[in-house]
Symmetry: C2
Subunit: 454 residues, 2 copies
């Protein structure tokens, strides 16, 4: 089963389904068709490709449970992949997958084709182990084609296919383990809100000898605003920003503290080679990236940035800023807080514009004590044969949107690694971990009817 699993995944990776690139739209369609054909071959009785726009093609499938009274589980994933730039840093063509030791390398091997394939394998394993001709729960599969584009039409898909997607639990596949030797169950993701602040001074850049010292400098003013965004102790200074922040429980903090954490390794693999840790006092690094909100400057531009010197007072200055949000923060509330903050920190003679990219992605978390979540942990421990701890993810995804629209709990089940180089050259997946993940999911389908009350 493992050989045919890898062979199938290789075929799928060969289809360059880069959703953000219009030139690859046809490949997103081909990728959806490949998945539909695979599901058909695996025996799924109901398969649909949702390709009537505006969303890029999504695949939906359903396999009713042996027992019509059994709960329904919706497995969410995506089949679009990230672009491949910079191409010259790949050691092999990104869409010609290669095997190296126990790794399979190629764009999408980890994010998210590998984890969707893992769930297909799980169903086969579940049927083989139980000897059933249908799963113990009604399984629904929803694999969208726009996740790497920020899922712009997800709400519309959920609305258009409300009846198809009715379920009792969502299993979110796009998630990783803490480390190879420290398997974890994710219990949440941060939200994100990104925007741009521009300060306008005069109509033109001005010679700094002519007017320097007598008119406001938008770059200096913007620097003062950014400086004021954090207090000296590193906390975010937007009034009311922490009001809705849910503190992690003592148990969660204890769980995180037990996870292995090598500072130098983390800085090298996750910190982009940063030279030191930094952040909010009173929280560990893992807490800072998992359960605490942030305000980060993503970009700055103003005036003259070429070689040498140009002694001007710039006409404008712009900062791109994004916030990572944690439960129960609301992107729209933080947007209002930022607007108010900018208005308060705009000096006389400067005009400010604030804009946001979309409405933001809300944060999501599920309690470790939730019965479905506890079952995932148990299934993982059976498969991995070692203690599994709860963890969180620092990034953002559509979990909160799925949970809110479908009105049911959402749990995470994935088996990739944080250093799989997703979104980067030489993406890989560790195959034995996917096999264990499939085993965990197979256990989960078996266990859920008893644990999940509808």
């Amino acid at each position: 089963m493992s050989d045919s699993f890898v062979a199938g995944l290789r075929e799928w990776i060969k289809i360059p389904s880069i959703g953000v690139d219009p030139a690859h739209r046809v490949d997103v369609q081909r990728s959806a068709e490949w998945l539909a054909a695979q599901l058909s071959e695996d025996g799924w009785p109901e398969i649909q490709i949702w390709d009537h726009g505006p969303a890029l093609p999504a695949v939906y499938a359903c396999w009713p449970a042996v027992d019509p009274q059994a709960p329904t589980v919706l497995v969410y994933g995506h089949h679009d992949v990230q672009p491949v730039d910079p191409l010259d840093r790949w050691h092999h063509p990104p869409f010609e997958p290669v095997t190296s030791g126990d790794e399979l390398r190629g764009r999408g091997a980890s994010d998210d084709k590998g984890q969707v394939a893992m769930h297909l394998l799980a169903v086969k394993a579940h049927l083989a182990a139980t000897g059933q001709n249908a799963p113990s729960v009604t399984l629904k599969l929803f694999v969208e084609g726009e996740e790497e584009s920020g899922s712009p039409h997800l709400r519309k898909l959920l609305e258009d296919h409300r009846q198809d997607l009715v379920c009792d639990l969502v299993v979110f596949t796009d998630t990783a383990l803490h480390e190879r030797d420290a398997p974890t169950v994710n219990t949440g993701q941060r939200g994100v809100l990104g925007g741009e602040i521009t300060f306008f001074g005069g109509a033109d850049d001005v010679h700094s000898g002519r007017a320097g010292g007598a008119i406001p400098n938008p770059a200096t003013a913007l620097a003062k605003l950014i400086a004021a965004l954090h207090s000296d102790d590193g906390r975010i200074a937007l009034p009311g920003f922490y009001e809705d922040v849910r503190e992690p429980s003592t148990q969660e903090r204890a769980d995180y503290a037990e996870l292995p954490f090598d500072e130098q390794k983390w800085l090298a693999h996750n910190g982009g080679g940063a030279q030191a840790l930094a952040g909010e006092p009173g929280y560990t690094t893992l807490e800072r990236i998992w359960v605490r909100p942030t305000a980060e400057v993503n970009g700055l531009s103003s005036g003259y940035t070429g070689p040498g010197l140009k002694t001007i007072i710039p006409a404008t200055a712009t900062a791109k800023i994004s916030f990572r949000l944690v439960p129960d923060q609301l992107p729209e509330k933080v947007a209002d807080q930022l607007r108010e903050f900018v208005a308060k920190h705009t000096p006389p003679g400067i005009r400010a514009e604030v804009s946001f990219r979309g409405e933001g992605v809300p944060p999501y978390a599920i309690s470790p004590d939730d019965p479905a979540n506890a079952t995932v942990k148990e299934a993982m421990e059976l498969a991995f044969d070692q203690p599994v701890r709860f963890a969180r993810a620092g990034g953002s995804g559509p979990a909160a949107v799925l949970q809110a629209w479908l009105g049911v709990p959402l749990v995470y089940l994935g088996a990739t690694l944080p250093d799989d180089r997703v979104h980067a050259p030489n993406e890989r997946v560790v195959v034995p971990l996917l096999l264990k993940g499939a085993e965990a999911a197979a256990h989960l389908w078996r266990m859920l009817p008893e644990r999940l009350t509808r």
Copy 2:
């Protein structure tokens, strides 16, 4: 005399002597040759073109006084001109001068060919008025070809031609009146020191979901440094920065206060259309730009600055910063102060680099009470037939270098206007003002032998 003056200046303007553009090097040479030919036609007995590099060609001329005991005056100017971009905003080709009312329009008409030509005319007027065949003072003319490039070889020229340039007084031509109806004598220019500060975080930009909140953000850190560069009241917070700042005298401040100043007009013409005045408390706008030092951010760049959003923690952040300096500040001392300030404001995990563009330009000022300066004012009042006040200039130039190397006082005599659009499209000069300036210089050569003790 006026018609032939304008005709000559038109010919000179037609030579596109853009010194910063290597493609126009030959034109700088042609411009020097034009000037030398004109001086020869005017009867100057000694004329040299200094064109043996590394400096672009400069013109030197000398006309010994009637009385060998008379003092020597060195007139400084430049014959290179600014580039003409953006060309599409000119209403006529920049090197095909046109006359409009009493204006002559073209690149270099004001800065500085017009004012050099004004001094040539002054010598002719002086000889005509006195009936002498030689001037009352020994006149030396030094017209460099690199001023718009920042005079990079000026010190070398001064060193190589030390004997030629010996004098008792320097007259600096590259200066303007306050307003058409408010003639002024400039008594100084600010210095300038420009540099670049870069903060380095990690080796690569990092996904802000992955590490946001746990590593230092160089853009945020740089904003905090820039914010700290000014205290809340708008003063510059570099320790020791104001130690060497010479306060203007009560008389100087009273003089400046008597000059006409229309805030809206000033903002439109000098402030690039800025929406309000701003600056150091306790000083007027003219004081802020003339006698007070500044620290201005000239440019910012960090992270992602394209369209949309990229949720990264940037690897680096850079600010271009320049200081305008006033007597008796020294650029090298301010450079040290900035280096110390950056070191103090570099947070853990960030590496800083500070670099300066050259060694900076020192500030210069001469007392209104200096006998040579008082004589310039008197000569201007005779020519303009109205009260002339002392003023300053906010920009920077080689005055301090000339004064320091030649070891004699330096005074300013020019008759252009701040809104002549120098360095911008549609540069112009007001011809009647140049004629009055020439008359003032003619008076000056006549009066100086009695006023200037050698």
